[in-house]
Symmetry: C2
Subunit: 150 residues, 2 copies
């Protein structure tokens, strides 16, 4: 199970955006973090589709957070980049093969799928407990703001 590397980029970008007072272009965000400009742009589009950041076109344009950083959880960013569908997808193999269970036993969710769903729920709950604002507190925001002004 592997999470897209773009998630890390997106979270860091959100932290930077939470400290910016003006729109920040995707190319600037890329050079700030030392990553590919064009590929980061792709992920920022995903943030825009999810309603987390808003792009401004034209000169002096860039991305701005659409909500206060306290109201953006890490889970929001992860799901924006990685997709909202769960990692485990039950293919209902309990209904296939020689020991296929009869349909009347399959009204309830498969026990395997339930365990996986519970685990993913715990994962999401943990991610949603931290906001971008919380994360920003663990970084050197003063230096971040200084670099953003220059």
């Amino acid at each position: 199970m592997r999470m897209s590397a773009g998630v890390e980029w997106a979270v860091h970008c959100c932290v930077v955006l939470s400290q910016a007072e003006h729109p920040v272009p995707s190319s600037r965000l890329a050079s700030l973090h030392g990553v590919s400009k064009t590929y980061l742009a792709k992920h920022l589009q995903a943030l825009a589709r999810a309603g987390i950041a808003r792009p401004t076109e034209g000169r002096d344009g860039g991305y701005v957070l659409m909500r206060p950083p306290e109201q953006i959880s890490v889970l929001d960013v992860v799901q924006a980049i990685d997709g909202p569908e769960p990692a485990f997808r039950c293919t209902e193999i309990r209904q296939q093969g020689e020991l296929a269970a009869p349909p009347e036993q399959c009204r309830k969710i498969c026990g395997v799928a339930k365990v996986m769903a519970d685990a993913e729920r715990a994962w999401r709950t943990s991610l949603s407990a931290t906001s971008i604002a919380d994360l920003a507190g663990s970084f050197d925001t003063s230096g971040m703001r200084r670099v953003l002004r220059s």
Copy 2:
């Protein structure tokens, strides 16, 4: 983020093996669940490498669980198939680009990585709370045993 489909197969196979009294060949496990024989064999090898199931060669051979099903957690099976490495891999982009943090600020783990690690820990804890024996209780084990004897 996607989990390997083989995880579902492996968990169901472990449930079946917990009800079997004799070794069950991989080809039998495949036809019982209606999945590819050869591909399932590959995943069963992973279970063997992880010390969960043991293969027996020759005629009347097959796989047998190496531990009582109460002592095999769903997490054990998931990690055997999907690998033990975490889904999120921090690439330390806080040390790259224009706003690279100085090394003395990087002795502690990156805040982003910490949030992800905590979430995955919650996920693993949830998965380890359920054993193969618990799962077997949610299936029709009597029918399973009947089919296995035939």
